[in-house]
Symmetry: C2
Subunit: 197 residues, 2 copies
Amino acid sequence: MYEGAIQDLIDALGRLPGIGPKSAQRIAFHILQADPEIARALVDSIRTVKERVKFCVICGNVSEEDECRICRDPRRENTSICVVEESKDVIAIERTREFRGKYHVLGGAISPIDGVGPEQLRIRELMVRLGDLQVKEVILATDPNLEGEATATYLARMIKALDIKVSRLASGLPVGGDLEYADEITLGRAFEGRRSV
Amino acid sequence: MYEGAIQDLIDALGRLPGIGPKSAQRIAFHILQADPEIARALVDSIRTVKERVKFCVICGNVSEEDECRICRDPRRENTSICVVEESKDVIAIERTREFRGKYHVLGGAISPIDGVGPEQLRIRELMVRLGDLQVKEVILATDPNLEGEATATYLARMIKALDIKVSRLASGLPVGGDLEYADEITLGRAFEGRRSV
């Protein structure tokens, strides 16, 4: 145990996700010995995030305005909505440059074990948006794991009732991967989703 | 790329040691969604460390006073000094409860590749302390790697000239380890340093 302040910093850092006691100690000493400018930049950026960043009133993505950059963009199509779990997923999909529609961020996935039911997610907000007649297709891009699949199944049933096309991202072999090392479920999905060439 | 503030925070976090882009993103979203109290505690602890924590004028260990807790403690013996590279090493040795003397923190090890020579370390301060006739033994507890060994060899030569006993921490098999998995240098050292039972 260190004296007062440095131990407090180690403790505060150790509470962040993915930072163990050794990393916390290493980072604390880095901050201690670093240029005061570096510590100030870190402090300012934490405060600015807490003060300025909020969630888009339409899609739930992170934003510094009431409406996020994508929802504000008139070039984005209103006819398709891609439903994701988290803001991070929006960035991942944006990087592909494959999608020109709008997003809807649920804020998680249905997971009874963690006490997350449909009412904890932004599903009601999604259904309100779908009331808008413009939407022709909803792409369910929740994670390809148990919780993500359950959420997609739940949403698909509700959205189909509105007579809107619903699709799910394809599962299969990752590009650049090795067939031999694919797990059997992924390989099974790749067979199931095979396309004629 | 995210909008403004959240990306600034991801960048600031990504500059900390051992935090890659994915962890930086994960921590930034954690801070964004966490209770404001948690962000405030982190900000305050960073600022307090930068404002209050300094280095002991005697031994170079981290301290909130001019002299650190160990240097101030009258129960610690003045007859032996344990020389370490960093403050972290002081904590590691304190945990063993094997040492009742004082410390001297060098602030690193001799490493020509990183441009660290003896003059960049707190070696002059150590020699001044050894001028005090009370010191009977210096324990060199620099890391058992190339730089640490070089530093120990350098110091040993200087300190022996003052007619003070110099020792080095034992190298050998880690307790609870498996002989089969020991590297040959460690195993060689363990042979070299064998003790009669």
